[in-house]
């Protein structure tokens, strides 16, 4: 008989990794919102990588690489993290059980496809889903999955399967927990560092397909999709792009709204009122991304209106790119 349930401050988040990070910190008595974790962790990004294909469709990303939010936050706040991967599935489950028995909540990287509590419409082979295991009751695990409203249950077999999902970025049982946290971490300093780094990355990319240049690069490519790929395939590309922007737990507008929320928090933390205005401008950028999604989705459904064309979509993207370029430039002026 195994039974151990940790009193964990579960709160629903828009995105899994920033949500897990914030919830774990809160368990260790560091007050941190999801948006703040996202900002400190340098979550915001853009990349259009047509040479990497997922299900035969090009990869577009609106966030930094997997695990980077979590590790950046912990590095900047001085938190010690222990991270493990496993060869043996049994060992991976045993280690998890041992930590739970000690009363330590454990973060896990999992494949979404195998989690039975996911709505069927979300079940894709997506191996970058993060959750926190907070207890065990015999064969059932209690899980604080940040994109769900309440704590969920999962059978041992299913969790094991999800932890050892295969394919791109296979988690290989990856688990992590906080070992030591500082008494009074410097939130303001960490927020400033995250802020500056994101703006530099977005503005000064060495290659054309990342950062703000990447948005314009995508606009150029997107304009040519129908001619290059044919109507049918162009629509699949477009649908995939919108899914990456909206569906994969972004909080709306490809994380731009979440970042605007962070800018408000940063304005207070750093005592920099101009960041409030920049937050408003970022909200407008998020709205523009949403406009792109609405117009694109109409085309996918075959209900295109007169100005739903690839040319018009590219124009919206360029508008996003231009506004973002100006915002990051201004943040660097205030923030440094």
């Amino acid at each position: 008989m195994h039974s151990s349930i940790i009193d964990f401050p579960h709160s629903q988040s828009a995105h899994c990794e920033s949500g897990v990070t914030a919830n774990l910190l809160r368990f260790h008595h560091i007050e941190c919102s999801e948006a703040l974790a996202f900002g400190i962790g340098e979550g915001l990004f853009f990349g259009y990588l047509p040479f990497i294909k997922i299900n035969n469709l090009p990869l577009t990303t609106f966030r930094g690489s997997v695990g980077s939010i979590f590790s950046n936050v912990n590095k900047r706040l001085g938190v010690t993290v222990r991270r493990k991967k496993f060869r043996s599935e049994t060992q991976a489950m045993d280690d998890l059980d041992a930590k739970l028995a000690e009363g330590i909540p454990v973060g896990c990287q999992t494949g979404a496809y195998w989690l039975p509590y996911f709505p069927p419409a979300f079940r894709f082979h997506f191996n970058m889903h993060n959750l926190v295991v907070i207890g065990r009751d015999d064969d059932h695990y209690l899980i604080s999955d940040p994109v769900f409203e309440k704590v969920v249950h999962c059978q041992r077999d299913d969790l094991q399967r999800a932890r050892f999902a295969k394919g791109t970025l296979a988690p290989r049982g990856a688990m992590y927990y906080l070992e030591a946290v500082p008494q009074n971490p410097d939130m303001a300093g960490a927020a400033r560092q995250g802020l500056v780094r994101v703006c530099k990355t977005m503005l000064r990319t060495p290659v054309p397909f990342l950062g703000v240049r990447g948005i314009h690069f995508l606009a150029d490519r997107l304009e040519k999709w129908p001619k290059k790929l044919g109507e049918q395939r162009a629509l699949l590309y477009l649908g995939q792009l919108i899914r990456m922007q909206e569906e994969i737990g972004t909080g709306g507008g490809g994380f731009r709204f979440m970042y605007a929320a962070f800018l408000q928090e940063a304005a207070e933390l750093l005592g920099l009122p101009p960041l409030f205005q920049l937050s408003e401008r970022m909200t407008l950028v998020g709205d523009t991304w949403r406009r792109f999604a609405v117009s694109g989705a109409r085309m996918c459904k075959g209900r295109a209106k007169a100005d739903d064309t690839y040319g018009e979509l590219a124009a919206i993207l360029r508008q996003c790119g231009q506004s973002e370029r100006a915002i990051y430039g201004d943040i660097l002026e205030f923030g440094q």
């Binding site: 629903q12 039975p116 295969k166 899914r243 709204f257 605007a260 937050s279 909200t283």
Partner: protein
């Protein structure tokens, strides 16, 4: 996006509750706001599922006409390409490809069949057949 503009279009989330979005409240401050879904998202999600259903239907027909083994059907149903399936059953790609040939499949030992059956969550007896008719609803369930 303002809180009042947060879409509440039911669809892919179904009866599983709601997700949260970042939206601006009346006081100009950001807040986490519940959303039941958004039509734009529902459309592109449906589009992805239609593509999966179409591929599964194609494989179903090929299995029924005896051109491929049932593995091809289950593989498509589980959204796998040959490489991913090979990872799951821990076999080389070329072997999985070979097992998709009906005449080879018929001679597979129980030991190999069980590997596939476990991944697809069916019995080895079920693995040897496919449903008589195919309907897109078949693929949304495990």
């Amino acid at each position: 996006m303002k809180v009042a503009e947060v879409p509440q279009d039911k669809g892919m989330i179904g009866e599983y509750g709601h997700e949260v979005c970042y939206a601006v409240g009346d006081n100009g401050r950001y807040t986490l706001s519940p959303s039941l879904g958004w039509d734009a998202k529902n459309i592109v999600n449906d589009q992805a599922w239609t593509a999966i259903a179409e591929e599964t239907r194609r494989m179903h027909a090929l299995v029924q006409s005896g051109k491929l083994s049932p593995i091809a059907y289950y593989q498509a149903k589980h959204q796998m390409d040959i490489g991913l399936l090979a990872h799951y059953v821990a076999l080389a790609n070329w072997r999985v490809k070979r097992h998709r040939r009906p005449e080879i499949f018929l001679r597979l030992p129980e030991r190999i069949l069980r590997k596939y059956a476990t991944v697809f969550g069916v019995s080895t007896a079920d693995l040897k057949t496919v449903p008589k008719t195919f309907s897109p609803e078949l693929i949304r369930h495990r």
